[in-house]
């Protein structure tokens, strides 16, 4: 009898069903069934397609709630039916269009807020698009900050560098990059924070001001954009570039084994499927060649600094050989001073030493190349942590990591500034 009633009530609505573009007057009900019989009633309701009921939670078992969106024209009838059957319900959403309108407004306002760099959340992980938007924001906000493109990745993404320059012509310069290994997310995130810190503190912080008054800074926050996008879309643990390797099903080259410094030596693999594959030849990766060419063409870099994670290490050359660089004493001393600055903030300890002693022998690395090309102050940082979270460092640690790392970088930059004048 109840089923008959159901069919009678709703068959009358068949003709009245309209296909609406909006959700004005649509209601979302939460229905609480008490027994199997009531569940069956709702399943029958569900089968009446012309009603265009949209079940957000389908009727399945008495213990579980049933959520359903009802087009405006059917709302009163459905409620009447439920009430006549003694089926309990409550109204989750009175008017769905109101909710959607409010949500749209909220999103527009949020996008509006995001456009001002003072509200970019440096304590969160961002997509490549959001990072690039923030680079634009910084460049537009500060007259001495310029976004330049030094090349393109394998998949044709631009390699964007922020140039900090208060004047002069080809001043002695400092290079800083992050994210050459794409899974090391704290590095790209820290680079953004550091960029904002330097830009906003110029003119008020004595150290940054004197630094930028004498030298230029070039900052590449995402040195491996293809890999970075891949960590967002497909594999959070991706390290290498995304270049296709002739004759192999495996993809990608370790960009920090691809530099022309002891290339192909110990500590790099010739297996394309390996995470430390050095590539078919030095500078085969466009991401690496673009940086190397830029630095060579500029001709006046005094420091080359690169950010990695994790392990909390502060290293200088060499990696490709286990002998000390000529400037060992100065680099060791400066490294210790920088580690001391890092430690002063939160007590985070960084081990200092050559790459070969500290972590492993590794050939084709960027700071070995820069050092052998006359850039004395070449350092590689491995940021937090020491393995508890590893690559998956909680976002809450981004800003502390960036702050302490910045102190170490600053210490090195101050030394470079003093030696370059």
């Amino acid at each position: 009898a109840a089923n008959m009633k159901l069919i009678l009530i709703f068959s009358a609505l068949i003709g009245a069903s309209l296909c609406l573009e909006t959700f004005v007057g649509h209601q979302v009900l939460r229905i609480r069934t008490k027994n199997e019989e009531e569940v069956k009633q709702l399943q029958l309701l569900e089968s009446l397609e012309h009603l265009e009921l949209d079940f957000w939670i389908n009727p399945s078992a008495p213990a579980l709630p049933v959520d359903v969106r009802i087009p405006a024209v059917s709302v009163q009838s459905v409620k009447a039916f439920l009430e006549s059957q003694g089926i309990e319900y409550s109204i989750l959403i009175e008017d769905l269009q109101d909710v959607l309108d409010k949500e749209k407004q909220d999103m527009a306002e949020s996008a509006q807020r995001q456009r001002s760099s003072s509200s970019f959340d440096f304590g969160a992980y961002h997509t490549l698009d959001d990072i690039n938007a923030e680079l634009d924001q910084l460049a537009s906000e500060y007259s001495f900050v310029e976004k330049i493109q030094i090349g393109e990745s394998y998949e044709k993404r631009p390699l964007y560098v922020l140039k900090f320059s208060t004047g002069g012509s080809n001043r002695p310069a400092i290079w800083l990059d992050a994210g050459i290994h794409s899974r090391e997310w704290v590095t790209q995130a820290s680079a953004l924070w550091i960029a904002n810190k330097i830009a906003s503190d110029y003119g008020t912080d004595e150290s940054i001001t004197s630094l930028l008054d004498k030298m230029d800074l070039f900052l590449l926050p995402v040195a491996n954009p293809d890999g970075f996008v891949y960590t967002h879309t497909s594999n959070r643990m991706w390290r290498k570039t995304r270049s296709k390797i002739p004759g192999s099903i495996c993809v990608g080259v370790d960009p920090n084994r691809n530099w022309d410094a002891g290339f192909g030596g110990p500590g790099a693999s010739n297996n394309p499927c390996s995470e430390s594959y050095h590539g078919p030849s030095a500078n085969s990766e466009v991401e690496v060649k673009s940086v190397a060419d830029f630095i060579k063409n500029h001709g006046n870099f005094k420091a080359f600094l690169t950010l990695h994670s994790y392990s909390q290490l502060l290293m200088y050359p060499y990696g490709y050989k286990c002998t000390r660089p000529d400037d060992y004493a100065e680099l060791e001393s400066l490294g210790r001073a920088a580690a001391s600055s890092i430690r002063s903030l939160y007590g985070t300890t960084f081990q200092v030493g050559t790459i070969c002693n500290t972590i492993y022998q590794a050939s084709g690395g960027s700071i070995d190349w820069s050092y052998d090309n006359g850039i004395k102050y070449s350092f590689a940082f491995e940021l937090r942590d020491t393995g508890r979270y590893g690559f998956l460092l909680p976002a809450s640690q981004i800003i502390p990591a960036a702050k302490e790392t910045w102190l170490g970088l600053k210490r090195i930059m101050e030394h470079v500034r003093d030696k370059s004048s």
């Binding site: 995470e275 002693n357 590893g390 998956l392």
Partner: protein
């Protein structure tokens, strides 16, 4: 005859990682996760016809009780020539570790009373988040991966748990809890991320035991 090693250099750090894996397997649980705060001292002894033995002084912290630290000494013996046998590890913890009896009991009862077997993935997630109710599972993954790390460590490897890719509880007719894990281990020297399947049995009084483990199929 034992040579002093700089604690900041990699040979000592690798031995410490192996010791930590062993210790987590032995003493870890849903209410206790031990992490290395500092490697204070390391020495190495080359024993003819046997292998290389490392003597370590470690300072550990319990991640659920970060203000307290615990000292321990460890000996790690890597056998000569054998790449396929696990290092012998001995660990002595100085003093008492904080009791986890209450937390263990609560966790045990909570899991036993679940209607549907627990399933979870990506712990931590891409952003490093671990939902609080999954933290005990996360720490049991440390126990499980601690075993694998210990068993598979050599002087040329340094293994860490990178992520719990998947965990599935399997109900048992006996009193143990069983968790089938797929964990990703990060090997620092080769930089490879290696998936491993590990089955862990745990009971508040009996402790933890890995019943089986194997390297999983082709990696991500």
């Amino acid at each position: 005859r034992a040579m002093e090693l700089p604690p900041g250099h990699f040979p000592a750090a690798r031995a410490a990682a192996a010791a930590l894996g062993y210790l987590r397997y032995l003493r870890g649980g849903p209410g206790r996760g031990l992490h290395l705060r500092e490697l204070r001292r390391a020495r190495r002894q080359d024993i003819d016809d046997v292998g290389h033995k490392y003597y370590l002084e470690l300072e550990l912290e319990d991640v659920l009780d970060k203000d307290s630290t615990v000292s321990c000494t460890a000996e790690v013996l890597y056998h000569l020539g054998s790449k396929s046998s696990a290092p012998d590890v001995q660990v002595t913890v100085q003093g008492e570790l904080r009791s986890t009896e209450q937390a263990d009991k609560e966790f045990y009862n909570r899991i036993r009373s679940l209607e549907k077997e627990l399933v979870a993935e990506n712990i931590p997630d891409s952003h490093g988040n671990v939902p609080p109710e999954l933290e005990p599972i996360h720490l049991l993954a440390w126990v499980a991966s601690g075993y694998v790390i210990w068993q598979n460590s050599t002087e040329n490897t340094k293994l860490h748990l990178a992520q719990v890719k998947h965990v599935k509880q399997v109900k048992r007719s006996d009193e143990d809890l069983q968790f089938d894990f797929v964990v990703l281990l990060h090997e620092m020297v080769s930089q490879e991320v290696l998936p491993w399947q590990v089955t862990l049995l745990w009971h508040p009084q009996h402790g933890a035991r890995v019943s089986q483990s194997r390297a999983a199929g082709a990696g991500s």
